[in-house]
């Protein structure tokens, strides 16, 4: 599809948003049975489901780490998730990449020393992909881990931005992401705003533009944090209410 401009003179993007506007986010936690924690993270049309089992006894004893828990990640992108149906095999580079990113992002954040010789299994399924998929995965995993009650030092919130057409744009959809601009995916620790993970696809970006993009994305992460924190709090409140409810 030929697009002449990604941001029109009125400042509107192809889906009607402004440059710094996030898509609508919906969060559902704890709806999956038989797992320790689960979360559904929906951002616009992007829909990712994450579930967590653990900490539990390691299945494969050779993988057990003596002084802390070890994280295993499984990622699946549904064939119907993309506009054009694509089958991604387990050995696909992209799959391995995302698994590795998730592991590296959460290893320093979770208090793994509390669970020596245990395993925490993370499962991610992308049900629908419309840009910002890696970010949605990170956010969904954060929420699923919280739902499972696994201690972590802070929320990890992620957002994607791109420098396209001389504009910095936040929360890219699929079209904006594949338009050839420079893409920055960042994840931060919510309270300290420390960046814990970044991925970049840069095509000749000037330093000042990069700085602007980084600031924009970090700000986006903060705003997403507010929504995630709110959803977590609501869910905890709900659980507290049910547990202390008296049956008449």
């Amino acid at each position: 599809m030929e697009i002449s401009e990604y941001v029109n003179p009125e400042g509107l993007r192809i889906d009607g948003r402004r440059r710094k506007e996030l898509r609508k986010i919906e969060i559902e936690m704890g709806k999956l049975e038989q797992v320790d924690g689960s979360a559904l993270f929906v951002e616009g049309f992007t829909r990712v489901m994450a579930s967590v089992c653990g900490p539990k006894e390691v299945e494969n004893r050779s993988k057990a780490v003596e002084d802390k828990a070890f994280i295993s990640v499984e990622f699946l992108s549904a064939t119907f998730s993309t506009r054009k149906r694509t089958k991604m095999s387990k050995k696909d580079r992209r799959v391995l990449e995302i698994c590795s990113i998730i592991r590296k992002t959460f290893e320093p954040v979770l208090q793994l020393e509390l669970f020596p010789e245990s395993e925490i299994s993370i499962f991610i399924q992308v049900l629908q992909a419309d840009g910002g998929v890696e970010s949605a995965c990170i956010n969904a995993v954060t929420l699923a881990l919280i739902d499972a009650g696994i201690p972590m030092i802070d929320f990890v919130c992620s957002c994607t931005g791109t420098y396209l057409d001389s504009f910095c744009i936040l929360d890219t959809n699929f079209i904006e992401e594949t338009a050839g601009g420079s893409i920055l995916i960042a994840a931060i620790l919510a309270k300290s705003k420390k960046v814990v993970s970044t991925q970049m696809k840069i095509s000749r970006l000037k330093m000042e533009n990069f700085t602007e993009l980084l600031e924009l994305v970090v700000d986006g992460c903060s705003r997403i944090y507010d929504l995630m924190e709110d959803a977590t709090r609501k869910r905890t409140k709900e659980q507290l209410n049910s547990q202390t409810a008296l049956i008449k």
Partner: protein
Amino acid sequence: MINEPQRIVTPGEILTQESDFLRGHGVSLQNNQLTATISGVVEKVNKLVSVEPLKSRYNPHVGDIVIGRINEVMRKKWKVEVNSTQNAILSLSAIILPDGIQRRRTSTDEMNMRNFYKEDDLICAEVQKIQWQENKIFLHTRSLKYGKLKIRSIDYLLLILGVNGYCWISSPETVPKIDKKNTDKNNWWVSTHQKTDFEKDLSTDPKSAKLRIRKRFIDDESQRYKSFTQEMREKIARTRNSIFVLSTLNMTIDPIAIMKIYSKSLSLQLESKDMLEPNNMMNLIDAKEEEKI
């Protein structure tokens, strides 16, 4: 009773500015401030601050009565799955031998471990000790109340609510031993691992615990298996569904709540199998607003 509203915190939230608190569960020191690491309710006892999660795996305490499934038979010990962060260990020296005598374990015993407990068996045991650093839990079944959970021919019902979230059916003697506080926090785990397909025996007879003694180590248990009457099965199924209703709705599971749901279902003339339909579930707990299940 705590009258002040309970404070809910989320990971990364600063708990208190005061520096002289001790760190309990769910709290860590970040930048010299006590911060929460999980989402839950703040508990302050004297100078100890901790955050209690509303949902997590079983957190063991010495003296807890748990129900577990034998996962592995190893040399001189069994590994027992108890819904915790590690499988618990039941060592050969921690069980009662069939002859009841206290003696040293012999090599014959070691070879016959499967005669005591084999893989997939269910047992009821007590937490003997915990090694926190290595994340290990040790169990024992050194009491006549504990041991393998098998079907007995019964005329009464008995219910065991394992503190770790698995249910069998326990005698009323063991129930008071479960700390009421623990019950509030721990029993709802049945909702995350609904292993309530265990048989249930609900008893009000304190002597019932003693009746479960006979140690039988014979493989062919089918010989001893006597069938339940239709009536008994109905009761069992209804109890099981009552527990399910509580667990699906994330409510505390204790004997009183179970009985309330049980009798409500009878008074509403609900068939046991219909108890699990969302509308009926709502009626059973008398919910006023529409809740999404």
